[in-house]
Structures are given as C-alpha cells and as structure tokens.
Symmetry: D2
C-alpha cells in the first residue's frame, strides 16, 4: 500500500482524484493540503467527499510527513509546481503534476508526459510525470492513430467544447453560472495556452501540419468533446483509416470506437476514465470526434492511470467504474 499525498487538494480535479483514490486497493491517503481551505472540513468544499471525515491539511504538510516511496499529486498552479515539485522529488517522493509546468520537453528534464497510450514504459520508470491537459488529451486520443498518415495531412482544425470545471474552482467572473449558462463561449481566439502543448505532442507523432485550435466553454460542469478535422492532400482509404484506429484502440479498455450511427455521449463518461471516438471521412477531410470527462480522463483519471503504471499495477486499478452523471 502506497501513501499518496495531494497538494492543492480543494480544486475540482484534486477532489476527483481523492474520490477515486479512496477506493484504490493499493493506496492510502496521506496529506491533503489546501492553502485556501486549511483546517476546514473537506466535505464543505467537495460534495463527493462528504463521507470523508477529514479537514484539509495546512501547506507544507506533505513535505513534513513525506517518506521515501510516497507519491505526491501536485494539483496546484504551474508557478507553485515550479517551487514545490523539486523539493518533493528531493525528499524521495515520486510526483504527478497536474499543471503545465513540466509538460514541455524544454523545461521538463526528467519529466515524462503522462499519456499512457504512448509512454507507458517511461511513465512506469518516471519519478516525475507531467499529467497532460484535458484539451491535449482529447486531441491526442482523436489524432494519434493518424500518425501513419502524417505525410498526407495538410491542416488540422480542432474545435473543442469543454465543461467549465476545466477552468478550476477559482472564483472568476467568466466561470459564474450567470455567465456560462445559455452561452457557447469561444475563447483564446488570439491563441490558447494549450495550443503549444498540442502542437508539440503532434510533432512528436510526426504530424507537423498547422493547427487551428478553437476552444469553447459550453454550459455543463464536466465533459469535453473535441471535433478534430484533418484536411489531407488526398482521399485516405476508409479501410486503412479504420484499421489504424482499431490497431491503437481495439484492446484499450478505456477507449470505445463508436459505430457510424452513434455519437459520443458526455454524461455517460462523467466520472470515468473512458473516451469515446467517432471516425468518419468525407473526401479529403477526416473527421474524428473524441469525448472524455475533462476531470476524469482529462485530469484525475489519467493521473490515477499514471500512478498505477508507476506502481506496477494494472492500469485500470480503481478506474473500472461505470457511473452515471
């Protein structure tokens, strides 16, 4: 049984991670730090954790109690990660960081990008895993199988729709109910902070086509749909396309390839680590829809999958639930 600490424990993604870890047979919870809510009851901030009879620990608790072999989930911001993660590593912890601080190879050093389908072996050995963002996760799931056709892809257009929990629990005007309800709000129109992460990972797949990325906030708390359009220089063969997706996902228990007449459904994914993918083609345009729970596969679920890899456990440990939202 491995002790897992959570720093920044009162956010949405951290709460979801704690919810999953409570049921994890090989994990026990260590420190649950929150700078903003230290000393307050966890259930007052995380309704799904009301049965957990604890208060948030004060900042610094993880460093104080850390023992060799513990794992720390860092769910704070990038600048906090920059300050704390090296100290956690120096004390012998293995770390999974939710921020984008260590995602780019330039600054990552020993960090491994935590996309299990691609980097399972490196994750298993890693001391620091950079947990991918939700937009890059859904986009990579959609586009990864196209790497075998990379030379023929001329443009990639990604039109993404996300629930507002992706913006976190910070009280921002743009996250207010009265601002989000009734709207479909495009943002980052002059450039979104996640676009470089997507471009870098696509490049790692050999896909160098220009990316046009448009994220939108839609009126839901959780869930994300990415519509990825690959404009190719020729018409790809349908059977080769389908075969590429089956090769990547047929044995992946967390990815469902949908039949042609079935669209992804977000409520059925909320609370799971699953993804649903719909593939079709019209002329030179390949269209791939990918749906995930932005807090599940897009954050906490993927973090637990990475944790499982790091601990040598089956990837799906504690992730095999099928819940309804």
């Amino acid at each position: 049984v491995t002790r897992v600490h959570v720093v920044g424990a009162s956010g949405y993604a951290a709460s979801e991670a704690i919810r999953i870890l409570r049921k994890h047979p090989n994990v026990r919870l260590g420190a649950l730090e929150s700078a903003t809510h230290a000393g307050e009851r966890i259930g007052a901030h995380a309704p799904s954790l009301r049965a957990l009879d604890r208060t948030y620990d004060a900042p610094g608790t993880t460093l104080a109690v850390l023992a060799e072999g513990d794992v720390a989930l860092h769910a704070g911001r990038a600048h906090e990660a920059a300050a704390l993660v090296p100290a956690l590593l120096a004390r012998g912890a293995r770390v999974i960081d939710f921020s984008d601080r260590f995602r780019s190879t330039a600054v990552s050093g020993e960090a491994v990008y935590g996309f299990p389908e691609r980097y399972a072996d490196a994750i298993a050995r890693a001391r620091l895993v950079a947990n991918p963002g939700c937009y890059p996760t859904a986009t990579l799931l959609a586009v990864w199988p196209l790497e075998v056709f990379a030379a023929g892809i001329e443009q990639i257009v990604v039109d993404a729709k996300s629930g507002i929990s992706g913006a976190g629990r910070a009280p921002l005007t743009g996250s207010l109910f009265a601002e989000v309800a009734g709207d479909v709000r495009a943002y980052g129109l002059a450039g979104h902070r996640h676009a470089p992460e997507i471009v870098a990972e696509l490049a790692a797949l050999g896909i160098e086509a220009p990316l046009t990325f448009t994220p939108h906030v839609v009126p839901l708390s959780r869930g994300m749909l990415v519509d990825a359009y690959a404009i190719c220089s020729y018409e790809l063969a349908d059977d080769a396309l389908a075969a590429a997706y089956r090769r990547c996902y047929a044995s992946n228990p967390f990815v469902r390839l949908l039949p042609p007449n079935q669209a992804p459904n977000l409520p059925g994914l909320v609370g799971t680590n699953d993804a649903e993918i719909h593939l079709s083609r019209s002329g030179r345009v390949v269209r791939v829809l990918c749906a995930i729970d932005n807090l599940g596969r897009g954050a906490a679920g993927q973090a637990v999958a990475n944790l499982n890899l790091m601990l040598g456990l089956p990837t799906g440990t504690a992730l095999d639930d099928r819940i309804v939202a």
Copy 2:
C-alpha cells in the same frame, strides 16, 4: 426628458435597468459609473448592451455632472449607498437605491419603500426610494392580499427559489457554474438577511404571524418562484379569498392571476416587470405561488416603475414589453 445616472453600472440589475432605460421615451442616460470596470467597454461586460457604444464612467462622475432634477439609480452595495446617497440627495438628485441600506424605517428617514402597489403616492413625492429586494417583492405580491385575513393567520412559511443572478456579478465560489448546476441549494438556514425586511413589511400590513423563510438557489440565471403557505386558525372561504386577490390585482397590468390548472412560468417572465400568481387552499392552509424575474420586477423593472411614478408618468412606461428568454 430626465437624465438618469447609474452608479454601480456593471452589475446584473444595473445592466438590466440600462437596457430598459435605453428604450424609455422620457429618459436619457447620464453617467454610467463602475468602480471595477471604469474605462472599459460596456458591451464587454453586459451582452445585452453590446449595441451601446460607450465605456463605463469613473467613480465620482455622477456627483461631478449631476444637475438639479436628475435621477440617480444607486446599484452598489449598502455601505457604498450609505456614503454616496446622502451626497447625491444634497446635490439635488432624486435617488432610487437598490441596496437594503434604506429599506428599514429605522434608518430610512425620508426614504420610501418602493413597492408601487402599496406606496404609489409616497413614491411619487419621494426624493429617495428604497427599491425592495427580490425575495420581499415576490413574497409581498403573494401575501399582500391576505392582509384582510391577518387576524386568522397563525404561521407563514415561505419557500423561495431564485436564479443565481440575485447574488450579483461578484466572483464568489458559490456562484460558479460548477457549484450551481445540478443543485438546489438552500442557504441562509440560520437566518437570511432578507427575512427582517419581509417581516417588517408584513407587519406593516398587519400580518404579525411568525415567518419561516427558506431561500434556495436553483440552476437558472434569472427568475424567482416563491411558494407562500399561510397556516390559518380556521378554513378561509374560497370565494372571499379569490375576491381579495382580484381586488388587489384585477386592474394591475403587471400581475396575472392564473387559473387553477396553470402554474407560474419563469421563462415567460424574464425581461419583464410581470408577476404571475397562483392561489389555492387546502383546509387551513392557503398556498400562494408568485413568480417574477428577480432582475425585472425584483430589481430593475420595479426601479423603473418607481422612476415612472416619481416623474409623474404612467407606471408602465418602457415596461410593456413581452420578451422571451
């Protein structure tokens, strides 16, 4: 044409007031002050005002430009009203204050409680009108006609459901989409700040029965439903009850008494100054449902009605729209 200034102009109620006043034939807009957004484009904060080509004025603008005979809507907080409203009055303006600063007779001095159905004459002469809160407005509309039965009322239970815009545009965690969506959240369980206002106004009607008041936030931006239950010491006669409501509202263009098989509908009220009332009785319990737009009749619409009274205009001027939400 009267010049109307708005202080605290970037909030939800103020934006709605500006939207209505733009179409008001006897009004032109003066200063539109915002302490938080001075100098920024109005349309960036108030989508319904995107066609209004202006920026927010700096704090102090109203005082600087004020002329005798102008009207100022004060839509800031109570402590700001305490500081600014006397100065505005001293400069010759008439004022409508949206906060609860001047609602209680104890502090109000010359303030008149802006419930047009009851205090039309005093409002017409008032230099300072305290615009009622949304909960008191809906509750008074529901209960006022019962004043003739006041002696027989033993208890009043008010179970209220409000859209989140009633909490204002301040970025509070409890107003976030991800906190409001999917929930019906009771609050103020140990006492709500609007309860004394309701109790005081009911007492002014002669209704002294104890009040149990439970407000809830429901997942909608605008709209409010109040279910008021009057527990009486005897069974009221149905025809006398119905007659009391007709007497109060039959000639009121802003109140619709619904037939027994029709419930109030909130979307049809949003953007209007209207109220819908459903009355029924079972044994010794009289049940009255009252629906309003919390930003319309519950704030901006009522303010404009009060403005109309102050200016000697028909109460419904600029308020006769029927819009769809």
Copy 3:
C-alpha cells in the same frame, strides 16, 4: 449468485438499476426486456451502459426464462405491473415493483412497502416488494423521526423539488429541454398522485396531520430536495428533536445528518443511495430538508437495498460507491 431480470429495462430508473447490478457480486443479469426497444443495442439508449455488449430482450422473455429463485425488477407502468407481476410470482420469482400498483395496502395483499429503515424484516421475507416513489421516500426520510412527536403536529407542508428524470423517459412535451430549462415548475396543484402514498405512510407512523404537498420540476436531470415543515402545537425541545433524528439515523450508513451550517448538496448524491438531512426549528415550526438522488435512493438504489435484504445480504452491497455528477 442470483439471477435478476429487468422488465421495462430502457427507462431511467431501470438503467440505473442495471448499472448498479453489473457490479453486484451476488447477482448476474438475466433478461433485460424492453417493449419499445427490443432488439436494439442497450448502449444506444443508456449511455452509462455502453460498455455492456447486449441488446434489449423482447417482451415475454422474463416469463419464458424464469427459474425458481430468480428475482424480477418490474420497472414498467402500474397497469403493466397489474398484469405481469402476478404471473411472475406464480412462476416462482420474487419481485420488486417500481410502479405504484402495489404500494397501497388496499390492493397490495402480500406486497411489502420497500422502505428499508422501517420494514427491513418484512422485506427480507417478502415475495413482492413495492418500491416507494421518490417523493414519498424523501418525505419519509425527512419526517419519520418526528413520529414520537406525532400528537403535537398540526400541519405538514412539503415543498418538493425534483429533477425531470422522475417523469421517466417517455417523450412528453413537459419533459422537453426547452420547457424545463429556465423554469421552476410547480405541478399537481390540484392534487398529485403521490400525495395519497405519503399520507398513508405518515398515517402508518401515527402522523395524521393534514398534508399540503407541492411538487416542482427544477432544471436538473437527477436529484431531489424536499423541504418539510411541521407546524406543531407547541415548541419542541431542540435536544429532543436532535436526539430523535440521531436515534433513527446515527448508525445508518446511507443517511447523513448535516451540521447546522451545511445544506444538502444534490450533485454529491447523484449515483448514490445516500440521503442528506438538515434539521432546524423556529418557534413552532420544525423544518427538515432531505436530499436524495431520485433515481438512486428514490428508485434504483432503494430497489437494490431491498434486493439485498431479500437475499440476506448486507443492505449496502453494491451501494457503497461515492460518485460525482
């Protein structure tokens, strides 16, 4: 391992029951009948069951395959229950019926009302369990502990707010998104079909006070909040009140008594069999808020709890998840 069949398997409550039963260690799924969708893939209608690789069985399948010792969940309508349930019993099945056909003692004969907190022993021996409606369930959870004060209760007012899934998956105009969104819709104003069930169960507790019951549809898919107000003839002692609720619920793993400053939260309950209760008193009025998932504790969760009792298993088997909506 007991085989469990589901009749009327494509509805919301039935889908939730199947979702829970898939994880039940002592159950395997038998027939999953749907008259409207026989032969169609289950995942096309129930997103939470997309990983279940099956089609709906044709009507009559349960009767055809039934064996002694099987259990059948009947999730169809009352008139269908009237026709089918006796045949299922005659073939040796034990039955849990979701409709209101067998809830009233007048017609029930051997049926036991499936409220585990009150009737656990009878449920354990029952061949037919009438699964309570969601409104009666939440109301009973709120009011049951007051039975010791029954003589002092003069009136009961129940103001209930429900997600629309309680109306089922039938395509009704009143259940359309564009009708439900933005509204808080009271209904059954002339009398709701669940009121007699509540009255009868309260009477069984010795609580004979008149009931005023107002159900509302609120804009959420799942979740229910009941605000129950008991108007008493004298002021109950707060410690006696609190003790009564602790006596009923302190050892009940599915009911959380909330501290005075914490309101029930619906999203944290969705997908669980849990209930949250908030108790307070003001003068002669006792106010009890009770929140449940209408499809969980209000339908499928309670059905599984009853199933567990019938099979001699711990009540919470397969019900101990804590999920997030």
Copy 4:
C-alpha cells in the same frame, strides 16, 4: 395595416413570430391555427404569450378567412407546406414558409430564398418566400463575404452548435431535458438534411469547395454558434479579409463585427434578429464565428424582416429590441 395569419402556430418559431408581430405597428394578427392544440388557450403553450387572451384556431381557419393582401406565415412541416401553401397563394395571400419545402430552386418555382442581405429586391416582390433554416442562415452570414475569395477556398469545415429549440416542440426522446442536459451531442454524422441547402447557397455565391458540416445540440434552449473554417490555397491578406466583411456588414444594423478580443455571446442575442461575427486567420485557414438566436435571426426574426421587405417597410420594423435572456 396588414393582416398576418400563422399556420402551425404553437411551435417555438411560430410563438416567437407572434410575440414580435404583436408589437408590429403595421400588422394585426389574423388566424392563429394549430392542428394539435386547436381550441386551447395560447398562453398554456407559449409562456411569452400569456398576456394574449386567445385560443388557437382550428386547421383551415386561415383558408376560410383569407382576404386578398393578407400574409400567411406557414410554420408547419414540409409535407404540410406542400399541401397548403399553393392553396394559400391561389387565394391571394403572400406566404412566408418556415419549412425547407420551397428552399431548393428545383421545386421552388416562384419561391424566393429569404436571406435579406442577398435577395432583398426579389423578396420585396415575392409572393412566396422560403425562410432559410437556422444552420444555413448562420453559415451564410459567416461565409458570404468570402465570395470574393471563392477561387482560393479549397475546403470548408462548419462546426455548428445549436440550442434544442431548433428541433421544434414535437415530443422526441432526443429533445428531453434528461437527454440534452450535460451533453454536447453531434448528430447527422452521416449527412444532415440542412447540408444540401448550405451547399446550394454557397454555390450560388460561387463557393464550390467541399463542405464538411457537423451540427451539435448543446444544453441551451435558444442560440446558435457556427464556427466556419475556410481552408484556402494561399494566405489571404488580413486587410482584404477585414475589408470584405466590412463591405458586407458595416451598414447592416443586424450584424455586429466583433473586435479581435471579443467572442460572440448568445444570451445577448436571444430574442433579437442580430448576429455577431468574429473573424480571424491563421496561415491558410480563415476562421469565422457567427452567433444568432436560432428562433430569432434563424427563424422568426428573419421571417419578420422578410415580411417587412414584402410590405415595403424598413427591414427592422418591430425588430429593434434589445432583450436579455
């Protein structure tokens, strides 16, 4: 004053048209036919029309009362339009048809496609106007100014998000609240019925590039956002692009060209005939976002604009409101 009849008057688009026409200074309402709700009170089905004290007229009323010079809005289905519209025309009415029956030139004969920005003169003379669908309207508004660059456009990708009211008020399972809430549902993945209308109108502009069209239902009642991506064979000059949009829309009171840092906002458009457009370019991809109210500019608002053209009135008559949703 022209008498205007509405056939199929209980649908969402028809209700919105009636709401607008009630305030139209040059119109009085004639027959308001509904086959499904004849004889029932209008306010029971259309909350925004509760103040309209009328019942729906029986089918056939329009034909019976029609006089030379009347206008009929046909808001029924395409097959009903095929049967009734010729009869209405034969009786001397001018007709605006909301269905897609007369939109394609092949069947339209004398019908004029009711897109005012392009066909104002023909509409003014038309006896039959085919009111465009909401998806084609938003797409044309987004793409029309690109006609001057038609030769350079290689592919067009349109990713559209619509409120569910676009599916009408028919009680369909897919339109239920519990199916729409929490989801972003792509549909028509094998081909949407509106795609040919878009292709045909783009061709009329000289834009012959292949279209990939993906409509989605998002959890809102009203509002539509179209993200149109034009993949070009070369990098268009930004100033020429901007000039093209200004040329089309600078003097159009119903279209707002947004600054680069401002995204379209749907709630601010609901109830209006307005559109908001955001234009940007990245490399060879031109991205145009266009937002409308699907029941406003996408249906009833555009119908009234067409009516105004047919009557020789200013296009914006009765359409100059700015409301808040």
